[in-house]
Symmetry: C2
Subunit: 415 residues, 2 copies
C-alpha cells in the first residue's frame, strides 16, 4: 500500500469517528486549535520563514512570496476564523425532509458528512487552517495537499491542529497533510476512487484543469472567474459607474472581480467616457472593441483572447453590444459561470438576464464582488464552485456535506 493510500485509509477511520462526534466536542476541538495555534506561533513562523527564504532563493516573485508569508496577525486571523466557526450551527444530523409512504414507511432525508475530503491548493498556508477546520465542523476528515513551497509551514500548522485533536480525544488522523510533496503523490490522491469522497482544488486555472482531467474521484471545481458587468440601455449610469469600478478595482486579484464590461450601444456614448475616466484614474488599462475605441481613444485594441481572459489584474476588456440578447450570448459563450451582473432600471430586461445567463450567481444592480461565503451570510467559505453538480457558487459548511435516507418500518416488504 502506498503512503498516500495508507494516509487516506487512516483518514476514513478517523472520519467515521468525526461523523458521530457531538457538536460540543467538535467545537472544543476548534477552540483548542485556536489556542494551540497561538501557543505554537513561534515554531510555525520559524518554519514559514524558512519556506519564504527558500522561495526567494528560487526566484519566486514578490507577490507570491507575500501570499506564502505568515505573520502573527495572519495567525491571529486564522484563530479568529476558528472561533467564528464555533458559533455556526452544526450542519450534521439536520432532517432536511421527512414524509410517510402509503405503506407506512417513514422516510427521512438527513444531512451527513461527506467522509474524507481532499483539498489540493497552492501557496497560502492559512488555507490549511481554514480547510481543515471547515471539514472538521462538517464532520469530515481532511487530507490536505498544499504547495511544495509551503511544506514546512503546513507541517508545523498540521502538527498544531493534530495536537489540538489529541487534546480533546478526537483522532489525529482527521486532519492530515500529504507527507509526500511529489506530483506523483498528488496524482495518486486524485485517483483514489472509493477511498476519497470529494476532492476540491483551490488555486489557479492550471491546477484546477489538471485535477479535472486527472481525477477519478468526485471533484468540485472552484474559482476561475471570467465575470462580466453588463450596462443596459435602461441603466442608472451613475450606479453603473459605481458598480463597474467596484467590481473591477476593489480587489482585482480575486475570482469575483469583473474582467469584461459590456455596454448597450444606446448608452455607450454617454457612459463609456465617464467610466473610462474613473477606471483610468484607478489605474485600469482598457482593451476595447472598435466601437469602444471610437468613444475611448485611450483604450487598447481588444483581441479575441481578451474575451476569454481572467486577468486578475487592473485590466478590463470592453465591448459595445447591440442588445440585451447579444450581452447574454457573449456571457454564456465566454464566461466561466461564476458571477455576472446587469445594471438596469428595466425589470423585464433584468428578469431575462437573471433567467438566461448561466452562472452560479447573477446580479441585478449590484457588484459581482459579493460572491463570497461571508458576504452571503454563510459565516465561512471553502471555495466558490463553478460547476453545476452538487454545489454552485459560495460553499460553506452545508455545501461540503452529503445526505442519506433513513427509512423506518415495521416489517414492510416490496410486492
Amino acid at each position: 500500500m502506498s503512503a498516500v493510500l495508507e494516509q487516506v485509509k487512516r483518514a476514513r477511520q478517523a472520519g467515521r469517528k468525526l461523523a458521530v462526534a457531538s457538536t460540543g466536542l467538535k467545537n472544543r476541538a476548534l477552540e483548542t486549535m485556536a489556542q494551540v495555534l497561538a501557543d505554537r506561533s513561534g515554531p510555525i513562523l520559524e518554519a514559514n520563514a524558512g519556506d519564504v527564504r527558500r522561495a526567494a532563493q528560487a526566484g519566486m516573485p514578490g507577490p507570491m512570496q507575500q501570499r506564502l508569508g505568515l505573520s502573527e496577525a495572519k495567525l491571529r486571523a486564522a484563530a479568529a476564523g476558528l472561533r467564528q466557526l464555533i458559533e455556526l450551527p452544526d450542519p450534521i444530523g439536520e432532517v432536511m425532509a421527512r414524509w410517510q409512504r402509503p405503506n407506512g414507511l417513514v422516510i427521512e432525508q438527513v444531512r451527513v458528512p461527506m467522509g474524507v475530503i481532499g483539498i489540493i491548493y497552492e501557496s497560502r498556508p492559512n488555507v490549511t487552517v481554514d480547510a481543515a477546520s471547515l471539514c472538521l465542523k462538517a464532520g469530515s476528515a481532511a487530507v490536505l495537499r498544499g504547495g511544495r513551497e509551503a511544506l514546512a509551514s503546513n507541517q508545523a500548522i498540521v502538527a498544531a491542529l493534530q495536537e489540538a485533536l489529541a487534546t480533546v480525544e478526537l483522532p489525529v488522523d482527521a486532519v492530515q497533510l500529504v507527507a509526500d510533496p511529489s506530483r506523483e503523490a498528488a496524482r495518486e490522491l486524485m485517483t483514489l476512487h472509493g477511498e476519497l469522497d470529494l476532492l476540491i482544488p483551490r488555486g489557479g486555472a492550471g491546477l484546477i484543469q489538471t485535477v479535472v482531467r486527472e481525477a477519478s474521484v468526485p471533484v468540485i471545481e472552484t474559482g476561475v472567474g471570467n465575470c462580466h458587468v453588463y450596462v443596459d440601455r435602461a441603466a442608472d449610469l451613475a450606479m453603473a459607474v459605481h458598480v463597474t469600478v467596484n467590481a473591477k478595482v476593489s480587489n482585482p486579484a480575486v475570482c469575483n472581480a469583473a474582467e469584461t464590461l459590456l455596454v448597450h450601444r444606446d448608452v455607450a456614448p454617454s457612459f463609456l467616457p465617464r467610466v473610462a475616466a474613473e477606471l483610468g484614474a484607478a489605474g485600469v488599462v482598457l482593451r476595447g472593441c472598435p466601437r469602444t475605441r471610437e468613444l475611448v481613444p485611450q483604450a487598447e485594441a481588444a483581441e479575441e483572447a481578451d474575451w476569454e481572459t481572467e486577468y486578475l489584474d487592473l485590466i478590463m476588456a470592453v465591448k459595445v453590444v447591440d442588445s440585451l440578447e447579444e450581452a447574454i450570448e457573449h456571457i454564456n459563450r465566454y464566461g466561466t459561470m461564476h458571477s455576472e451582473a446587469i445594471i438596469t432600471g428595466d425589470a423585464q430586461a433584468a428578469g431575462t438576464f437573471l433567467a438566461e445567463v448561466d452562472a452560479a450567481t447573477v446580479y441585478h444592480n449590484a457588484s459581482t464582488r459579493f460572491t463570497d461565503g461571508f458576504e452571503f451570510g454563510f459565516g465561512a467559505e471553502i471555495g466558490i464552485s463553478t460547476q453545476k453538480l452538487h454545489a454552485r457558487g459560495p460553499m460553506g459548511l452545508k455545501e461540503i456535506c452529503s445526505y442519506k435516507y433513513r427509512v423506518s418500518g415495521d416489517g414492510q416488504v416490496r410486492g
Copy 2:
C-alpha cells in the same frame, strides 16, 4: 470539430431554449411523445426485431436478448411513463431559499436545469424514452449513448421523440442519440469537459468503472448494490425471515436486492435454519461462514470474494457476527453504500446502525428493495446514486437539476 462535440454543442443551444420553456410546453412535448411512440410502434418494433436478430446471431445470451427486446406492451408502458411525468410538478424555477442581507441585497437560491446531461447505458432500449423524458421535464437536453446492440431500436425511438419535439416547436436537438456507436465516441463524450454538465452511467459495474476512470466531466455513479440485511439479536425473527426472503428473492437481478445476510450469534441457532429453509425453498444457494455452516450444513463455504460480490442472482452470502459493531464494520468495509437494513426491536441498536452505516439508504425493519424513485414517491427515477456528491440514493427530477443564486440590489458595492 468531431461529430460528438458538434452534437453536444447543438444540445447546449437546445438546452438553453428548454431551460426557459414553460411547464405547459414541456408537458405538451411529453404528451406528443406518448402519441408519436404509439403511432410509430410499427417501425420501432421492426428496428428492434433487427437488433434482436443480430444479437441472437452474435450469440447474445437469452436473458440479455429479453432485455433488448421491445413489444407493444413495453412501448405502452413507456408511453404511460411519459404521461405520469406530465402529472409531476415542474422542478425548475422553484425558489429553494430566500434571505436578505444587512446591506439590503436579496439573495434567492433558485432551482435551474443542469444544461446538457449525457447518459451512457446498456442494452434496454426503453431507457432511451425514460432518460430523455426525465431530462426534458427537468429542462435539460439529453445526449444518449445506448448500447451498440440496440442502435437501430434507439435510432427509431429517438426519431419519434424528435418528431414530437418538432411538433410542439421545441428544438429537436434537445434529445439526441450519439450517432457514432464506437467506443472512441463514448470516450470522447466522457471528456467533453465544459460542454457536458453531467454524465450518468447506467449499467453493470464494468461500464460504471470505465466511466468513473475515463471521465473528466462530472459523473454520478449509479447502481452497483452489494446490499446487506443484518438480523440483530433483538430481532422479531418472523419479521426477519419475511424481510430477508423479500430482499433476496423478490427480484434478485436488481441493485437493491440483498446479497449478504449478517446474523447476530445469539439468534443464529434459532434464525438461520428457519431462514435457510425458506430461502432454499425459493431456490437460493447459500454461501456461509464456518459458523453458518455448522447450523446450515447445506450451505456452501463462503470465500473472501463472496463478501464483495453483487451476485444479482439467487445466491446469498451468510455470516454470523458477534455484535452490532461487527455488522456495521462488515457493511462499511464490503458494501457499496447503496441500501442496508437492520432488523431489530432494539431502538438503540437501530439508531446506531442507521447513524454509523455509510450508505445512501439505511432501513430499520424493512426490505432493502424499497430503494427506488417510485417507492420513495418521486414519481420517476433516472437511477440510484451510490456516491455522496450531489445526489444520493434514488434520483428523480429534482436530483438532476442544479441551482443558481439570484441577487437583487439597488447599486450595492463591496467595501
